[in-house]
């Protein structure tokens, strides 16, 4: 019997505002370096329309306020090892939360209720510096991006 090849998806969350673009930029680059299908989302709730049949989900998103620009945070959920609730407090610290939309933690909780939660989820939070409208990615973060890309590509290749 042939091994089941897991269905994987890499999602970049972001916007056009300063370092909030980093999620989109990372999946663009990683899409060229790995075979993992990619998508870019403006709001976490977009994930709900893409998760059916996905076994492994990888998410890149900017975060703010817990370290130097470029600092990489990582949260991992594996259905065989822990409850989703174990990683949600960390995921909730990501900046993709506003009054009108579901944040990533709420989106993953909703995915669980809808029975479409992937069995493995890795969320990478990349610390940003500035998020003002219209600005490019900050020089500090841009300088660190090649190293972050190598690190994430390595993990994706060996996952």
């Amino acid at each position: 019997m042939a091994d089941h090849k897991p269905s994987r998806l890499l999602v970049g969350l972001g916007s056009h505002h300063g370092d909030d673009q980093v999620g989109w930029r990372l999946v663009e680059e990683l899409g060229n370096l790995t075979e993992v299908p990619i998508r870019q989302a403006a709001v976490p709730a977009d994930l709900l329309h893409w998760l059916t049949g996905i076994d492994e989900l990888y998410v890149c998103d900017a975060c703010q306020g817990s370290g130097q620009p470029g600092k990489l945070h990582r949260w991992e959920y594996q259905s065989s090892q822990q409850a989703l609730d174990d990683i949600l407090p960390g995921v909730e610290t990501l900046r993709s939360v506003n009054t009108h939309q579901l944040g990533l933690a709420a989106t993953l909780s909703l995915a669980r209720g809808l029975h479409i939660l992937p069995r493995q989820i890795v969320v990478w939070g990349i610390e940003g510096k500035r998020f003002e409208a219209g600005l490019p990615i900050s020089a500090e973060l841009a300088e660190l991006l090649p190293g972050i890309i190598r690190q994430l590509a390595n993990e994706l290749d060996h996952a």
Partner: protein, 431 residues
Amino acid sequence: MSQFRTIQVNALTRVEGEGGLHVRLKGDVIEEVQLAIYEPPRFFEAFLRGRPLTEVPDIVARICGICPVAYQMTAVHALENALGITVSPEIRQLRRLLYCGEWIESHALHVHLLHAPDYFGCDSGIKLAERFPQEIARGLRLKKHGNELLEALGGRAIHPINVAVGGFYRSPRREELAKLIPDFQWGLDAAIAATRWVASFPIPEMNRHYDMVALVHPNEYPMNEGNVCSSTGLNLPVSDYENEFEEEHVPHSTALHSVRKHLRSCYHVGPLARVNLNFNKLSPMARQVAAEVSFTVPCNNPFRSVIARCLEVVHAYEEALQILQTYRPFTPPRLPLTYRQAEGCAATEAPRGLIYHRYQVDDQGKVTFAKIVPPTSQNQRQMEADLRDYLPSVLHHPDSQAAYECERLIRCYDPCISCSTHFLKLKVERG
């Protein structure tokens, strides 16, 4: 000696924006009911003064992430009225299509994730999804369709950027809209199924004597134009709106309260008012579903507003499909503007109810005055009046349950507090 009792919700949940509710009782007597909006005022009307009128649609869209189209539509119609512009039938039809997208995304979100949990004692849409995964997934897909239509037509799913005074910056290519047709065909059936599901909810009985206010148009379900009409017989052109309605400051709220100017009374705007005053203009399928689920007008039960919202989603899908199937690109997408010193007003129907704008502009095309009256400001006093009548039936509950029951009633209005200040807390004082 009577004891005071206070029931308070410090932050109402599953509403847009920040606000709370404070109820003060002495014995069984309700002394005070205050819907307290503490979100800071946002001064959009003042921001607009001195700005080129062409920037107004993009600035007012920022008042709300759920209903930006309502602000854009009302602004462009008011400014076009000031400049003496009548848009072409093609532009008018595309604007209705854009509004269909907003009604679908806003109503689908409210019905499935914000309001439906109240009928099953769930504290969130996430909890409700564990019980009704297929229904909530269907609702999310409906919302996505609305956002995709906004993106195709408006350039972005949130805060569209294609709306211009005089029309659109560009008319979409036929294929950009035609590709949405299969999803909208599925969506019409899904919206009908959602209405059947919602109509099966255990809906509380409550009947109020509402002064329901909505636009009424002779030939169509109201979106972008019509006379301002009420269930109590009012029928006036939008240009007379401020002769009949006015906003007041109240100490406990950063949002203005609207009242009937001469009667000093509250009134009700929103899907329930629209359906009541325009039932025969609903699309054929929406009327057919209404009959099937025994939704009849007049309907004065705010808890049945959730059905009215679903009927409007069915209508929006049916009308959107018809426009999508017949759409052809047109020129010019935008009519030229000739500036003059003038004043213009307009009212349209936001998902949450009637919205009114008035602008004064100078001969350089700059805004010199702006007035924006959103639906939630108009419903605030009505919500307080509803709560006064509803409270005696829930006060036997402990404070936390009484507060929850009050929140349920408030959520029937789908209040958008961010709009009204251009979030919610309940406090009840018992004595």
